[in-house]
Symmetry: C3
Subunit: 339 residues, 3 copies
């Protein structure tokens, strides 16, 4: 009898993208969910206490890459204890903001307006961004009548004398789920490294911390599910911008196996003419309990000073100049299999 | 009950090689078959349809390398659907030519005349060469009375404006197997990248496609098995050569567990004095259903302008000059274990 | 029924270290034992013979690393045969000296005086140092009434003309275990590469081999266990030093689940004022058969010319100069889970 469960997701899609004259055609890994391979288990320690571990690695299904060779090669790796007090873990673990895909109607992260817009503001909490914290201690509370708390602190471990917290990540999340309603509130901050600090601010006080706040909600009306979010990303860059991203969406079951997914999102940025918008329309079809087919379209409507893209490049293939104010159009069809 | 089968091959051999004054002594991974670790599974979707996935990584059993860290670190990674229509998969998958080891009497790929000679002509279809295609769609037909078809298209995904197919791979294979007879016919092409294109050819028309055709056959006479192949590799290099490789071989059972394997191959190259030949003699002994011991010798007889090698280097250790017209002599003894 | 056992260790700790003004606070992988993920199996070949394999990879539980991406990314990878004659394996395997943690009271390798002092003399046999040999043939004898022999030879495989053994490793170990007594004797040598050879020695004869000898013992008195070792490391550097490391320690059960671990070690180095010492005090508590919590402290007392460290850096954060004659103080608390 094994102490380990081997699990994962194999997900790939055929995609076509266009942005100005740039055109992308290809096969990509991880549409509906990131392809992954994991190993997990638990051991009963008595008195309601359990030891748990998870080793989970990103897989580039389309490429010549090994287990955990991509950019998010280690999705999560931890050992921890679980009991009446909740969970405490040591290792590389998710930012509490990772779970906000619950308030996003578009499961296909790279095609999701929420992800595309937030990632371009420098967010690192929502899934698809670097929403993981290395060298971290994570605490998750038990369920208090639908309310759960989640806090993480990750040590950067680089500086040893001055500014020892530089690069450290701290985040907390509170989520409430009861019947048809789900609400999530996240706060996350990263102490900037010295080199990345916007050094002068109001009254000459250096503000060296990137801050993000996120509020999301979903309500299941039965006929359809409504979801949306509002996110503030502050001091993510030297420009010390205070940018906002919001999105609303809906998931509509149209048959026993089929669902239509819709989302619209917009940026409200400090910089001039930088309010990009994006929308997405998807259809998903469950082929079984563990296998799902999906097809969809996502468009980014760039502003005069933005060049956000999805599949095709955001820069002119010849000159390398950013493709400002161009639409990014993206189509995909894929299959997701969990094991 | 797990949805995943963990499988693989652990194969290592002690090898000794000599080429001119260069001598190699060492322990290598992957003689009889490349060492590997894989994860695969399938799910019944009803109506004869199945979802399938495979994640398979190369292992360097002798070195300080992780899972999938070598040159062919991802052997194959795909998700697909299988049914009455055949199989369709998305991911990194084998070129139809990968399977031509069926027409080769020498299973030990690095010691096989077919592999050594074809690899040196720039082939990338036979096993041991880069016979895998990233970002690929693969279709395999059902079995039509012994006949199967296999087609793959792999997107290079690099260029987005002109020459968008540059680097793309397209290949088809037809194989027939019935009783003692097996025949395979493969065609594969790779659109060369701009930098690698032989730009001028007949009438100033650029021919930017590397083409390979392969015909192989095997017949089992009971007392012994006879096999052979003929392969054309065209425009693999800027010299626009049209090179051929052929080999004949035989596998002779000599006891209930033992087999003798023999092969001879030769190159017919466009360039002057570049017709290298190679031969190999092996003995394999099944220790069980999953474990096999093997011992063998392979020699490459280089021509005046070739310096093909196996274990020892092909260049002078001191000067770095190619060792033209020298024999490469190679001995190995190893063990192969499947799990 | 699977032919593979998936196994491993997930181990992480919170650590705090201080050396002069350098301070480290963080979460690290692998305290009580290195985090790892492995795949192993065996097959009965009849007549008492078995085919065995092991693929075992290091895991950096705290970082964004894949399976086998760290410095000792491949812990061991081999295929072999086991029977009445003992074991013979091909692949990357442990130096016989790897197992000397049996004579060390401190399981937490990075905090063990034996490891810290030996690693700083350039040892590469004890666990924690590069105690693994690539391209290796390993022979282990059967148990002769408590006595076992272990021999390994690893080919460097780099040089092909002169000095072909350069970089090769050869090691032998003899261990005796009977009732409360365990004794181990190890000899290991590495032929230095040309560039690393101390070229002139007595009478102009080049001595190009790094040599290590180790004698360790443990005796279980029931109330406590006593252990110790003496190690000689010769010609590890161009200075051709002949350095010694010794340590004594004890493990004292204090309850049904708890143990106190104590160790003191010292270097006797050729160079002036280079005799660093280290001591460690730990407490371990078994939470179950597979899970253990541990807490401990290790201090290195550096000499006038040594700057050995554990968690905090050994060099001044600002100037980069070595922190000679400073104490390295280190605290940890962690959890180890085997699966």
């Amino acid at each position: 009898q094994s102490n380990v469960t081997v699990y994962g997701i194999a997900d790939a899609f055929f995609g076509y993208g266009k942005m100005d004259d740039n055109k992308f055609t290809g096969v990509e890994s991880g549409g509906w969910a990131g392809s992954r391979l994991g190993f997990k288990g638990s051991e009963d320690l008595g008195n309601g206490l359990k030891a748990v571990f998870t080793l989970e690695y990103g897989i580039e299904l389309d490429d010549n890459e090994g287990v955990g060779s991509g950019a998010s090669r280690s999705r999560q790796q931890f050992v921890g204890l679980q009991g009446g007090f909740g969970f405490i873990g040591l290792g590389r673990q998710y930012n509490p903001g990772y779970y906000v895909f619950k308030y996003d109607a578009i499961n296909v992260i790279p095609f999701s307006p929420q992800f595309i817009l937030a990632a371009n503001q420098g967010s690192n909490i929502v899934a698809g961004t670097p929403a993981r914290v290395s060298n971290a201690i994570n605490y998750k509370s038990p369920d208090f009548g639908g309310l759960t708390l989640n806090a993480i602190y990750g040590f950067n471990e680089a500086n040893q004398d001055n500014n020892r917290q530089a690069g450290d990540t701290a985040a907390v999340g509170a989520e409430y789920a009861n019947g048809p309603l789900a609400i999530g509130l996240i706060y996350s901050q990263v102490k900037q490294d010295a080199g990345a600090i916007p050094t002068e601010k109001f009254n000459g006080v250096a503000d060296d911390t990137k801050k993000e706040a996120y509020l999301g909600a979903a309500y299941d009306f039965g006929m359809f599910k409504l979801m949306g979010s509002y996110q503030i990303i502050k001091d993510a860059t030297a420009a010390e911008d205070d940018n906002k991203v919001w999105q609303v969406g809906s998931v509509v079951p149209v048959s026993s196996a089929g669902k239509v997914h819709l989302s619209y999102g917009r940026t409200d940025a400090d910089a001039d003419d930088s309010d990009a918008a994006a929308w997405s329309l998807m259809y998903s079809h469950s082929l079984s309990k563990r296998t799902l087919a999906y097809v969809g379209y996502t468009q980014v409507d760039n502003d005069d000073n933005t060049a956000y893209s999805v599949l095709a490049k955001r820069t002119d293939e010849t000159t390398g100049a950013p493709l400002f104010d161009e639409d990014s159009r993206n189509f995909l069809i894929g299959v997701n299999h969990s094991f």
